[in-house]
Symmetry: C2
Subunit: 481 residues, 2 copies
């Protein structure tokens, strides 16, 4: 539970009384149903900005009133006793609803990360997102200042999304060697929604999804929640991925292969052109469609990466996912899928059932940025900035992690896949780091048994934060090794 209220220090009422009243209100309004677990005393004291003793007094009073109860060793809960039963006796058993919903919850670590990310004091060493300093905020404001809308565009969107935006994306994809007409493109609210739509729109329960491991797909659940299972293939193994695919597909037919072939998340590896051609030729033979998650490829530093799989695909084998989240702004929530028109129309129909289309404001802004050339200008600047951050971070790693870890030099994207010399990447390390105000993306969220890697990102934290954070992290690790 995350609390966004605090007592009023200039009120005549005592702090503890304000807290008592507020908690009572949460319970009587039904916002905290019976069985709700309260945050720890320490965390309540932090949220409210009061001493722990004030919290203890307030909670004791509420226990005396019968509104709360403590269960030894497991914390304080909204109680189920008479007084409470009087106010909310017949409340539905929400706890049961929450527990039994179809969709899997996020991994606990991911939930924690999502929540800690809202804390501005924390240093985010793994965040896969551009730093606020790298977002073209002023230029976006400028575009909005000169925006004029056709009123029709503020209505419900057509199923595949705004036509002008799709035309702009089609032209943009041509620069990457991809021929996709506007009709074979659809707009989505970011790459994750693309995966969600593919999952419920094209696959059956029990489908087998192949993917490279470690994988972004282990940190999100679009396929798992719909009852599909994931089989990880290793690019580092003795066998090539096509060989592994062929062997597995011989036993049970795979429904698709998911890959981030350029500046991978989390490993930052990139498939060579030859590897891409081999993959396509094998997938064609085995009739395995490919999802190409291509959200980082605009972020190369010195040399353009090999062409996207989709540009090498003459067979309608590849569903290509792109996005503005990693390059322009995640807050826009704009991405796209290119693929065979029958597939796109099916996915667009489902999108109409999910959210009736993406934000017209966001679609309009992205179309403007693509059409005016502002997007490519922004990319030129962004690449240099990211490269500087990469270099700065590599210098820090050389200073503080020599002998402690190994890493590759990124040629683009956001990430350094840091391999520690000892398998100490576990929830304890995560917690130790949080204590020092450092938020990590540990390897085990991308590969369940991985206790050696950390996904570092040079895209988010400021230089100052990187300097302090990486040094502090090295100290924590030295302590644990």
């Amino acid at each position: 539970m995350f609390i966004e209220w605090g007592p009023n220090r200039s009120s005549a009422q005592s702090l503890h009384q304000q807290i008592v009243d507020w908690i009572k209100q949460q319970i009587t309004r039904g916002e905290w149903p019976v069985g709700t677990k309260l945050p720890s005393q320490r965390s309540l004291a932090d949220s409210f900005g009061v001493n722990r003793s004030t919290i203890i007094t307030a909670i004791d009073e509420l226990i005396a009133d019968g509104l709360l109860e403590t269960k030894l060793g497991s914390g304080t809960f909204v109680s189920n006793n008479t007084w409470n039963v009087l106010v909310s006796s017949k409340q539905p058993d929400w706890k049961n609803y929450v527990r039994n919903g179809l969709h899997e919850p996020n991994l606990k670590t991911i939930q924690d990360i999502n929540q800690f990310e809202t804390d501005t004091a924390i240093i985010r060493l793994g965040t896969g997102e551009l730093s606020p300093a790298l977002l073209p905020t002023k230029q976006i404001e400028k575009t909005l200042r000169s925006t004029s809308f056709d009123a029709h565009s503020l209505g419900y969107s057509e199923p595949k999304g705004d036509k002008r935006l799709r035309q702009c994306i089609s032209v943009y994809l041509e620069t990457k060697g991809i021929n996709a007409s506007p009709s074979s493109l659809m707009v989505v609210s970011g790459g994750l929604q693309a995966l969600q739509l593919i999952s419920v729109g094209l696959l059956q329960k029990g489908s087998m999804i192949l993917h490279e491991s470690p994988s972004y797909l282990n940190s999100v659940h679009p396929f798992q929640s719909a009852g599909m299972h994931l089989v990880g293939l290793s690019k580092q193994g003795r066998e090539s991925i096509p060989t592994q695919m062929k062997r597995i597909n011989g036993r049970k037919k795979a429904s698709l292969f998911y890959t981030v072939p350029t500046f991978n998340n989390p490993t930052n590896t990139t498939w060579s052109k030859e590897e891409r051609l081999n993959l396509l030729s094998l997938c064609k033979k085995e009739q395995i469609p490919i999802i190409e998650d291509d959200v980082y490829s605009d972020l190369w530093f010195v040399k353009e990466p090999p062409p996207p799989l989709k540009s090498l695909d003459a067979d309608g084998l590849v569903l290509h996912i792109g996005s503005m989240s990693k390059t322009l702004s995640p807050g826009l929530r704009i991405g796209w899928i290119a693929g065979p028109i029958t597939v796109i129309e099916r996915l667009a129909d489902i999108k109409m059932q999910m959210d009736y289309g993406s934000s017209a404001l966001s679609q309009h802004l992205v179309a403007e940025w693509l059409a005016s050339g502002q997007y490519s200008k922004h990319l030129e600047w962004l690449r240099l900035e990211l490269m500087e951050r990469r270099d700065f971070t590599l210098t820090l790693l050389n200073q503080h992690f020599k002998g402690l870890a190994e890493w590759q030099i990124p040629q683009g994207g956001f990430y350094i896949w840091l391999k520690l010399c000892k398998p100490i990447v576990n929830p304890n390390l995560f917690k130790q780091a949080i204590k020092e105000n450092i938020l990590l993306n540990p390897g085990y969220i991308y590969e369940p048994n991985n206790h050696t890697h950390i996904r570092l990102s040079y895209s988010y934290a400021s230089e100052e934060q990187l300097a302090y954070g990486i040094q502090t992290l090295s100290k924590i690790i030295r302590r644990l090794v």
Copy 2:
């Protein structure tokens, strides 16, 4: 299939050759996989803006090339023969993927409606959306002109959505008598996404959903697609809805009750305060949570409607859904859910897995409109405009539908639930209307066996279109009766 390409009339190449080349390209690129059904010759001719004979020549050539084939009585398809097999022999069987995906497709009629709505020549007599003329386009542009962003707000959103927006919604809900703290609120991309999240976040497969019939829920599939089944209760029946609920719930436990209690979609009925209190008391006793879909209640004409269910609920029984789509602009894709905090946190966690939050631009704009009072000023104007449209439409009905149909006088919202004197509301009527360029929302999409009702809307079509459309519709109906 919906085609957005046309031949270039100033090209040296003949029209039919351009069409042949373009269709070839669609096939060889894999955009039209094997088995794809082509639109009819007439519709291709329309799309391309050429004579039907040009289409026939082009298709004949492609058939001769072996790329297309005709199946007697069912149309022209991308063929599966040798030449084609050479270019795309081992394409995945996309048709099979599309057919077997988990999520149900939209009803055919709804798909048609979604598609016809993109045709600007058509008169939309049933569209549940504000007319472009009623959207405050200029004022939205004005707000954007003075917008300045905190760069952080352009990053990924926190799970429940932008904090300032949630604070503004909390204050706005207070004016409706609803106490919901910002922590017990989450932002969604429109009301439909709220239903989607509730469906996969809180319910088990096989759950029973009670709802009023006819119902908006029959025209969208958030629950059906996740394997729940719907049981319709009738407000017009001899038994009251609470009595029906009690009886049904005695046999099998209902998971929730869905209602649009104010200016219902499609019937435009409104529950009285007494009916609301009775419903709450029964649902409390039977422990059935309520989803209150409250997206029309700001649109009253003369008298404010009874208070929302949520404002009368001291037990955390109600999940309250609101939205800006029906009042400010559907293109913003901004709505919200208010409910017990544990439920909201579960739903917010799932939203993070679906699309990582709603558009920052849209969230920012709505916060501005709520905070500045512009939203309520806009509502004052909008109510008068809608009332004028209602009156205009009622005059037309009196002119053209006396003796043909019955209707109620709407006190707010968008809809007139027109009851024809004969059960002729069927796919044929829909088709006859389309022939005259009129798009209808027939009763059977809200209630499968309903062949007497049409959902008319006075919110979308212009006065001119309403005048022509309603007169023409009456002629079509007279012809069929």
